[in-house]
């Protein structure tokens, strides 16, 4: 059904489904602002007030809810089609392109094992205090019991901390029957801190903010955040540190790992200790995430089995059009309701599984054989983060028993400027470049709709954080108009031409390119180098690069596109002399939901030559932006964070340290005769949602 929808319709569906976008909801939906007030992390006045006051969150315990024994996935017309007991054991068969690197979660999140493939395979082993709800990305409890207490300032032994308390659900067990307690969380945090684990662990347990966690009793936790940074300046653990950071940290079993960690700590210096910990092969490691390791034949397949005693097994989750979220777990005896009254239309209704005995990930060496396997029925779902290009798409669409789902991706491909060097330091110049780039032409005509043009630094699919009101430079203009507008911009900023570009009568193409373009200071515009991925690495970006090269030369900006392999581009960006050598480059980013990446990419402190270092390769430095970005990090309210994110997007779309080019739709393929998903539209695609392993139904 979904495959018949046009792209625009899919965007709407995703927008509708997005966690915090209330805009598309029907008339009965409350106005968005009201709903946001009830977001649990809401606090007033952060900086000066000692005790943070919260708006009470309404959490009604619903006493009687009609229990549906077997639920049919939402929006199917079949009358309560209870999945009949399958003939053999139910197996969820998926395809991968690479082996996972390790089964060790420490390694997965702290080392080179952090590949997407590892995530797909072992992501279902662990659980955290809080998590995202299915499809909508609501921030909801996982093993936490209710919401955390609001952040408060507290002085312990003369040191001031921000603290919060969290309860853990009673009766949650590891797969070996041991109870999951506050000590497990404390153990995980302290191990990360003591070994100073890097990579994802460092962004989950941020070393500059997280001080420690304490177990008040078996099921109650207290977390201490540092209230000052290393230099003694006051700081607040914002959303990205606590709610979207530490709260999402996977909790690992102390009773299994404590002896291992102790053994590892005997090995030499800290790096050797880390190596020893990462090298541990976790045979028999108990899990709490509903899935457990069973068999791995490297290069061929990986198998997990479902844990029947998974605490969340059988939980009914309902998401309502009015934004309400409801989770009912009869076995454990809890009901959770957030974000409003669970009444009115349901947009999602599902029962948490896993609804299979085991899942098998088969590994394929290339897309062709994986697609063949899918068409032949060897696998029912394919993890394909590489994207599915037109030819594959044609092929799977021709196959009757395959269904194709298209979702928006949470990422961007962009053209970056080295804003330290003239003429790229000139805003009018950057705007002129943005004006002549016809994104719609390349994405629609040349790339045949395999890409979607983008204008803001937050993808449209991330509807809650996306600001639609940003400048869309050049949108809808013809070639002649673009050239005229760009020339106007350049001349307005003091650039001069010996000969302006000449456009054909119908305005469709440039007859003679501009010549002798001089900068405001009178010197000639030097030949600029545009580095971009080669056609071998990414045909989409190299196509863009070649067209941009042509358009800039038409405008009279001498440009040479240099198409390189990915490693070589990265190498150039990380080179010591990036500030002098770089002119323009084309690359891409994949994003998180919470847009704190804006700070990481564009804050001037993240320019490589500055102390903090980072990925602001273009050396973008704008004090106004820096203020906003820093504010975003310490922002503790969703609404405040959104306001800042909106302003940052608007500023970036006008000042253009990057010209955002396009994003690609994420396409997933599955066999509806074998598997059934309660929902298929989800930001970033079904692969990013780990193939919906916990909710899929096997027929």
């Amino acid at each position: 059904m979904v495959r018949k929808l046009s792209k625009r319709a899919v965007i709407l569906v995703v927008g509708f489904a997005m966690a915090m976008a209330a805009m598309d909801c029907g008339a009965e939906a409350p106005p968005p602002t009201e709903r946001i007030v009830t977001v649990p992390v809401e606090v007033e006045k952060v900086v000066e007030v000692e005790r943070v006051v919260t708006v009470p969150v309404e959490v009604e315990k619903i006493v009687e809810v009609e229990r549906v024994v077997e639920v049919t996935p939402a929006a199917t017309e079949a009358p309560a089609a209870t999945p009949a007991a399958p003939a053999g054991p139910a197996i969820y068969k998926m395809g991968l392109f690479e082996d996972p690197i390790s089964r060790n979660t420490w390694n997965y999140l702290g080392g080179p094992a952090g590949s997407v493939w590892t995530g797909y395979v072992i992501g279902g082993y662990s659980t955290s205090l809080y998590g995202y709800s299915p499809q909508r990305f609501d921030w909801v409890p996982a093993v936490a019991d209710g919401l955390p207490t609001p952040l408060a300032k507290e002085t312990v032994d003369g040191t001031e901390f921000w603290t919060t308390e969290v309860a853990i659900k009673q009766g949650v067990e590891w797969s070996d029957g041991e109870p999951l307690t506050a000590d497990d969380f404390v153990f995980t945090v302290s191990t990360v801190r003591e070994l100073n684990l890097g990579s994802n662990w460092a962004s989950l347990v941020h070393p500059a903010f997280v001080d420690r966690a304490e177990a008040l009793d078996d099921h109650r936790l207290k977390i201490y955040f540092k209230s000052t940074d290393a230099d003694g300046n006051a700081q607040t653990p914002g959303l990205s540190i606590w709610q979207f950071g530490l709260a999402f940290m996977p909790i690992l079993p102390e009773h299994y790992w404590a002896p291992v960690v102790e053994e590892a700590r005997k090995a030499g210096e800290v790096p050797q200790q880390i190596e020893a910990l990462f090298a541990h092969v976790p045979d028999g490691e108990p899990t709490a995430g509903g899935l457990e390791y069973s068999q791995w034949e490297p290069g061929a397949f990986f198998e997990n089995t479902a844990v029947p005693d998974y605490y969340s097994m059988g939980t009914m989750i309902n998401e309502y059009a009015n934004g309400a979220y409801e989770a009912i777990n009869e076995r454990m005896g809890y009901t959770e309701v957030y974000y409003g009254d669970p009444t009115g239309d349901k947009v999602l209704e599902l029962e948490v599984g896993p609804h299979f005995e085991s899942e098998i990930f088969s590994i394929y060496g290339n897309q062709d054989s994986a697609i063949l396997a899918l068409t032949k029925g060897d696998i029912d779902f394919l993890f394909n983060p590489l994207g599915l290009e037109k030819g594959f798409l044609d092929r799977v669409r021709q196959t009757a028993d395959l269904e194709v789902v298209e979702n928006l991706d949470n990422g961007v491909f962009y053209l970056g400027f080295n804003t330290r060097k003239p003429p790229m330091d000139n805003k009018a110049f950057r705007q002129a470049v943005a004006t002549v780039i016809d994104k719609e032409f390349v994405t629609r005509t040349i790339l045949q709709d395999t890409a979607i043009p983008m204008y803001a630094m937050v993808p449209e699919g991330n509807a809650f954080w996306y600001n639609d009101e940003t400048a869309k430079i050049g949108q809808g203009l013809g070639r002649g108009e673009r050239i005229a507008a760009a020339v106007e911009l350049l001349k307005g900023a003091g650039f001069t031409y010996e000969k302006e570009p000449e456009v054909s009568e119908d305005g469709a193409f440039v007859v003679n390119g501009g010549e002798g373009l001089r900068m405001p200071d009178g010197s000639e515009v030097p030949e600029l180098e545009l580095i971009a991925p080669s056609a071998g690495y990414d045909p989409l970006r190299s196509t863009f690069a070649i067209w941009i090269e042509r358009w800039l030369n038409d405008l009279g900006i001498p440009t040479k596109a240099r198409l390189l392999g990915f490693n070589l581009i990265v190498e150039k960006l990380f080179s010591e002399t990036v500030d002098k050598d770089l002119d323009m480059w084309i690359l891409g980013w994949g994003f998180t939901i919470f847009p704190n990446y804006l700070e990481n990419i564009f804050h001037s402190r993240h320019a490589p030559e500055n102390e903090d270092g980072g990925v602001n390769w273009g050396g973008y430095a704008n004090p106004e932006f820096d203020d906003l970005a820093f504010g975003l990090l310490s922002e503790t309210t969703i609404e405040g964070a959104r306001e800042k994110a909106y302003q940052m997007q608007a500023l970036l779309a006008d000042d253009l340290p990057y010209v955002t080019l396009f994003t690609t739709p994420k396409i997933d393929v599955f066999r509806p005769v074998k598997v059934e998903f309660p929902y298929t539209s989800v930001l970033g695609g079904m692969a990013q949602a780990q193939g919906l392993q916990h909710v899929v139904l096997i027929k």
Partner: protein
Amino acid sequence: MAAYIVKRVLQIVLTLFVFLTIVFFLVNAQPGDISRLYALDPNLPPETRAQMQELFGVNEPLWKQYLVHLKNTVTGDLGVSFSLYPRTVADVIKERLPRTLVLFLTATVVSFYLGFGLGKIIAWRRGGWVEYTSTLGGVTLYTVFTPWFGLMMIWLFAFKAGWFPIGKFLDPVVWQDAPSDANSIFNLMLATAVILSVIVFGVFLVTSKRRLGMARVLQVGSIAVSVLIVVGVWLSSGVGYLAWDIVKHMVLPIATLTLISFAGTMLLTRNSMLEVIREDYVLAARAKGLPEKAVRDRHVARNALLPVVTSFVFSLAFAIDGGVIIESIFSWPGMGQTLVAATVSEDLPLAVGTFVFVGLFVLLAHLAADILYAYLDPRVRY
């Protein structure tokens, strides 16, 4: 002879040392290191990269890394892989090597026999249509664009006809809860292959002095018996069905490899035969009135075998190199794929380790070929 072998061994040790040096500096001459790839996530704190560098030891000066590399290689320690951190390179190679060996040794042997057989025929019947078609066909396949050819084979025989599985080396459903892992099976298969080839070699050695017809009967008979015994042993072992599953998956890649490589052996055999045919003893044999077939197989082919066998030894060594394409097309995760993946992900220790291993393999093959040559050809005396 002994002095010659000692000299060759010394030379090879020296060559290996130079090879190690070249490989190390070549691979390390590349700009950047793996830590960059892990610094690419904008949400990660910048310290992460420094920590990665420390973890991998890539912040040490180059000469120090080089000395460590030499020392470690000599002691058999190929280091720790970056991309599969913290698995050791030796461990990774141990996992991937048997798969590559089983597939490519089989394919090389099959294509050797096919090439040698055809080569004999076309050298004997010069100018016939057999020569032209097999030369043309052979050369076309020999120079065919391998990735495309491999995919065509998959499309035709696995997808359209459905005779063989699509890629991979085993069927996960068959292997679910298997009593043994794939590598043990691969090792057992290798052992079987070695035993079988020793038997075949022995049979040929023993029967070579007998009359042609008699020899043929003895050869076929004893080989059939030993194959039956081997099959029987596998069937009764309880893991036979696993080996059978692997064999099913091997047919298509082996057919592809054979088709694209037999022409090399075929043309070499032909040329070698043409040179031998002119020797006087061939004339003498014919003059004696021996049947054509006997002259061809006994007198010409046997003497023409020499260069073919040496080239066969080399091609064994290069199996790993040629594996890059076929392995990736057929989803066969062996040494070739490992090398490409390690290179692309800048996993220097793994790339160097794989490379050194391939080099060692080739060097030993060289040595074996030299010794074989010296042993087989009475004209070569050093």
